[in-house]
């Protein structure tokens, strides 16, 4: 009976591992205003070889958000893309990748953030993988339409 109890304790201990945490240490470049002035700070996580995003979520601009659990199995290749959106004036066009990349004033109908927004700032990681807790430093910088930094180039092979 004592032995059985020991195994139960060990099982509980083993199960306490939990998912790893990837901490994103976000900084601003000099030409990026304080984040509080943004309409929206969006985080995208994509896993290599998957069409669906592992995470696509707006982050609280005061930094009060809890860690986000994304569909990234530890060891899988992924990238993180942070997008800073500002409020814009004038007519807006429907939300699409093209409109976003063309820096158009886009209609965001999430009911939580301003309707008219323009994609202004971005930061992204390279393709990365992690089986344990890790830290990724990223710097938010203005979007340069002529030399886009994000997302990283697609992978030809997702094998590790």
């Amino acid at each position: 009976m004592k032995v059985l109890r020991w195994f139960v304790v060990l099982g509980v201990l083993a199960g306490c591992g939990g998912p790893p945490t990837v901490a994103i240490d976000l900084r601003r470049s000099n030409d990026v205003p304080p984040l509080a002035g943004l309409a929206r700070l969006r985080m995208i996580v994509r896993v290599c070889g998957q069409n669906e995003l592992a995470a696509a979520q707006n982050l609280p601009l005061d930094g009060s958000g809890a860690p986000i659990e994304a569909g990234v199995t530890p060891g899988e290749l992924f990238y993180v893309w942070l997008q800073g959106w500002e409020e814009c004036t004038g007519p807006c066009v429907p939300d699409s990748a093209d409109a976003m990349n063309q820096q158009a004033c886009v209609c965001i109908e999430d009911g939580q953030t301003p309707l008219n927004q323009i994609f202004r700032y971005e930061a992204c990681s390279m393709w990365a993988q992690s089986t344990e807790d890790a830290l990724i430093p990223l710097t938010l910088a203005p979007v340069n339409p002529d030399a886009r930094l994000c997302p990283p180039p697609p992978m030809t092979s997702c094998g590790s």
């Binding site: 083993a14 790893p20 994103i24 996580v45 986000i68 290749l77 344990e132 890790a134 180039p153 092979s157």
Partner: protein, 458 residues
């Protein structure tokens, strides 16, 4: 208007007309003249070397047929038979002019033309299988030398010609008797045959001696007459030529190795493709190859395995300054000599040089054409180049050299002091058992399917 000013005006008009007459055809000719495209080679990827050579030969043969360009290798040697034909026409013209001058007793001018014809043949046309043009030019040169009184030089030229084994020899019907006697004397003075032992530093080179195809190196070319000979090594991606002097009855060793700036640039560019360092990294080498090959554009091929484990054949075209201009891909069968591979190679080349519906495209098995920017990344970039391993766990410490367990195993126990009687033995067994159970539970427990992301704002 004075007579002087009218003469000046007339002169100016005449010069203007002459300039137009001379420059317009030159400009039109220059515009219509096909450009030289330099072929860097095929990065074979997972393809076996023999299959890769087969595929590259197929590719070069296909590229040989487009009107808008002529294919050369990284050193500028013709890979395109039409370039050789152009050069052969030039040599033929020079030879005929030389003979014509010789017949008009202008021996010096004749020798200049004939020397030029021989020199062009030696620099550009030794890859031909037919050396008759060279033989004719050498014979005409010897005759011109003989007629201008340079008998020694004429005999030396005839010896060089005899060494090449020409099909036709001068006879009393075609040449003066004295010249025929000089030929006979030169032939008598030719020593016993020797041989050339040929090897290539890189595998897969086909050897040709004096226009005769001998096969793949290493090999020994036997029954070679003493004198100068032209050895050519041909790979699918390029040509290497050298002259060899064979002594009577002796063996001459030749090792053919491609070196020099063009070869270095070529290899560097292929390495960029192989290691997927990005299209930008290939640009300086593409520019260098184009410049050294006196070419306009650089072409490079690659075989890569896609995410679906299929093989794909890529061809990229870089502009003269190096920037990537277009890249296309088609599926590739591992069996290269199949009809489907030949058809897909044609489709790919047509997509790049005829249809030109998009700069970056993919063609599927059915010939469907899709413009897709990801093809560039598939050829030039990959995970190995840009992935970052974020596994931050420290490396495991090296096992201690004199650990307790090691000591217990390596040192035999005393007979009087058995292990099972020692308290520490049972401590180790217990620790190992607990450790094994923990490891088993941890290893057998399912991996977490998620990762947490925590963003720390500034």
């Amino acid at each position: 208007m004075t007579i002087a000013s009218a003469a000046v005006r007339a002169g100016a008009i005449a010069w203007g007309v002459l300039a137009v007459v001379l420059t317009v055809p030159a400009a039109v000719y220059g515009k219509n003249k096909p450009r030289r495209y330099a072929w860097v080679g095929l990065e074979r990827g997972p393809l076996a070397p023999k299959a890769a050579r087969q595929l590259e030969t197929l590719l070069v043969d296909e590229l040989d047929g487009y009107d808008r360009f002529r294919l050369v290798d990284a050193s500028g040697h013709a890979l395109d038979k039409r370039l050789l034909a152009d050069d052969a026409a030039l040599v033929s013209k020079l030879k005929n002019q030389g003979v014509d001058l010789f017949l008009r007793f202008k021996h010096k001018s004749a020798l200049k033309k004939l020397d030029k014809a021989i020199s062009i043949f030696e620099s550009r046309l030794v890859t031909l299988e037919d050396y008759e043009l060279l033989h004719d030019a050498m014979l005409a040169k010897a005759e011109a030398q003989y007629q201008s009184g340079e008998h020694g030089a004429a005999k030396a030229t005839l010896k060089n010609l005899i060494a090449l084994g020409p099909k036709l020899a001068p006879t009393s019907r075609t040449h003066p008797a004295k010249f025929v006697r000089l030929w006979d004397a030169a032939k008598r003075e030719t020593g016993a045959v020797g041989r050339i032992e040929i090897e290539c530093a890189d595998p897969g080179c086909l050897i040709q001696v004096d226009g005769q195809r001998l096969g793949e190196a290493p090999l020994v070319a036997t029954r070679i007459l003493p004198g100068q000979h032209y050895v050519v090594a041909t790979w699918p991606h390029g040509v290497l030529k050298t002259t060899v002097r064979v002594a009577a009855g002796r063996a001459t060793q030749v090792r053919l190795e491609r070196t020099g700036p063009a070869e270095e640039a070529r290899r560097a560019m292929l390495e960029v493709v192989q290691r997927r360092r990005g299209a930008e990294a290939a640009e300086p080498f593409a520019s260098r190859v184009a410049s050294l090959a006196r070419g306009w554009t650089t072409l490079v091929g690659a075989v890569k395995k896609g995410t679906d484990d299929r093989l794909w054949l890529f061809i990229a075209r870089h502009g003269s300054g190096g920037p990537l201009k277009s890249v296309g891909r088609v599926p590739l069968d591992p069996v290269i000599d199949s009809e489907r591979v030949a058809r897909n190679v044609k489709r790919l080349c047509a997509g790049l040089f005829v249809d030109q519906r998009a700069d970056i495209f993919s063609i599927d098995d059915d010939g469907a054409f899709t413009a897709t920017p990801a093809v560039t990344e598939a050829m030039y970039a990959s995970r190995s180049a840009d992935a970052v391993d974020l596994d931050v766990s420290p490396p495991p410490p090296p096992p201690p050299g004199g650990s307790l367990v090691t000591g217990a195993v390596t040192e035999p126990p005393d007979d009087d002091d058995a292990l099972i009687g020692q308290w520490w033995f049972w401590a180790i067994v217990g620790a190992a058992a607990v450790g094994g159970v923990v490891a088993g539970v941890v290893l057998l427990s399912p991996d977490p399917a998620t990762t947490k992301f925590e963003v720390r704002l500034p």
